[in-house]
């Protein structure tokens, strides 16, 4: 039996799709947008076509965070001396309106607070465990692993070069875990994940469901994909294994949505 598909949008995706500025009053080359705008917009377009199926979802925390992120960025920019408040006001209207149009096509899902609290402790434990694992990713262990792999694959003559290349690859392979040390999850990240875990549980109690979290945050949710083809996804995999929530980039999820029939 085909599983139901639900796509939750994380704050980073809602913001990426909202931060876009185009007007007939401007030259076309003056159009400005977020760096992840195209990726986010690809998913938004797919979800727009599936409003009736209620595929796109959002939680109250994500919605609040998204509105606050826009407003805070605007009000913080005001601190620059002599800034005419008219310009930030125009931008807040433009981006705020785009955000509201996105939210209108998403279902605002209620979250069982007790289940959220239950999952919150699990989320904290999971990230603690990942941080412990991350502490093992050092320059020494990275080199040792690369050398070990080289021994099996390269002739003695080329082992030096191959080992250097291997070290670079191993670094990329474990980058998501490594980055976690310098960039641990915020309380907001934990809260969002515990809400998604509660949501996944409640969906699956109804009918079998695949719940995705679309995010451009590769430090805590989505996998890191390098041009070399290497994917670093230790955190992403752990989230899926523990909470049955699949995190990925919005354009990747857009492909999944488009392939699923009606």
């Amino acid at each position: 039996m085909k599983k139901r598909l639900k796509i939750a949008l994380e704050t980073s995706v809602i913001i990426a799709a909202s931060v876009y500025f185009v007007s007939k009053e401007l030259d076309s080359e003056k159009t400005a947008k977020d760096v992840h705008y195209e990726r986010a917009q690809k998913l938004i377009t797919e979800l727009k076509n599936r409003v009736a199926q209620r595929t796109g979802v959002v939680t109250r925390t994500i919605l609040r965070e998204s509105r606050n992120a826009l407003r805070n960025a605007i009000t913080n920019s005001l601190e620059r001396e002599g800034l005419n408040p008219q310009n930030p006001s125009i931008i807040l209207n433009q981006c705020g309106d785009r955000l509201e149009r996105i939210v209108e096509m998403l279902s605002l899902e209620p979250i069982d607070q007790k289940r959220k609290d239950h999952f919150f402790t699990q989320v904290v434990s999971m990230y603690s465990m990942l941080l412990e694992r991350a502490s093992l990713v050092t320059e020494r262990t990275t080199r040792a692993l690369a050398e070990d792999r080289t021994k099996l694959t390269a002739s003695p003559r080329y082992r030096g070069i191959k080992s250097e290349l291997g070290t670079h690859e191993v670094r990329q392979e474990f980058r998501q875990l490594y980055n976690l040390r310098g960039n641990p999850p915020t309380p907001r990240d934990r809260e969002i994940l515990s809400e998604l875990a509660a949501l996944s549980e409640s969906y699956s109690a109804e009918i079998p469901t695949d719940l995705y979290l679309a995010s451009t945050d590769s430090s805590h949710f989505s996998p890191m994909r390098f041009p070399t083809g290497i994917v670093s996804d230790q955190i992403t995999k752990q989230i899926e294994e523990t909470f049955h929530v699949r995190c990925d980039w919005p354009d990747v999820i857009a492909e999944i949505v488009s392939k699923q029939e009606g």
Binding site: S12, R71, P88, I91, Q94
Partner: protein, 185 residues
């Protein structure tokens, strides 16, 4: 501006509501609504100008107040222009129905900003005030009473807006994305 003036303005908004109800009942446009709308636009614009340069409060509190007045003025102007267009096109009073729908949120935004005007705002008050403006714009959008971005840009320095936007796009991204290496091919 004294509280008395605010009470007078609130009564003018009530008067506009009565006129709109009358138009809906009689299914006929009454262009005498333009004059009180003009007065309210002028009043809002004065408040907006005052807060544009006011230095007596924190920048954030002053901005929230300015942004509120500016949006109230923009939507009042849009209501007025819809009425003027409706008269030229001899349209039925659908515009009165739209105006009546927006008026409730306009009164909420107006009373909200008069309550907070002139004092430092807590984060919750800033958020609540901006939420009222968001709600006003959402209702105005659903009634085709929302000024377009082109309307807003016509009264601005476009180059400066884009410059602020570019800085803003970086700021909002950096507050969201805490890693320097997001690693996407």
């Amino acid at each position: 501006m004294e509280r008395r003036s605010f009470a007078v303005v609130l009564s003018q908004l009530g008067d506009i509501g009565t006129r709109l109800d009358g138009m809906i009942e009689q299914k006929k446009l009454d262009m005498s609504i333009v004059h009180p709308l003009d007065e309210l636009i002028q009043f809002s614009q004065n408040r907006e100008e005052h807060w544009k340069t006011y230095k007596g409060l924190s920048t954030k509190s002053a901005f929230v107040t300015y942004h509120s007045w500016r949006n109230i003025r923009l939507i009042l102007e849009k209501i007025k222009s819809r009425f003027l267009e409706a008269e030229i096109r001899h349209e039925n009073p659908g515009v009165a129905i739209d105006g009546a729908k927006v008026l409730g949120s306009l009164v909420d935004a107006y009373t909200g900003v008069t309550e907070i005007e002139g004092r430092e705002l807590s984060k919750d008050e800033q958020s609540a005030t901006l939420n009222r403006i968001t709600e006003l714009r959402n209702v105005a959008y659903s009634c085709n009473m929302l000024p377009s971005i082109d309307d807003e840009l016509r009264e601005a320095d476009k180059e400066a807006v884009i410059e602020v936007f570019d800085n803003f796009a970086v700021a909002v991204r950096s507050s969201e994305e805490t890693t320097e290496d997001s690693a996407r091919d």
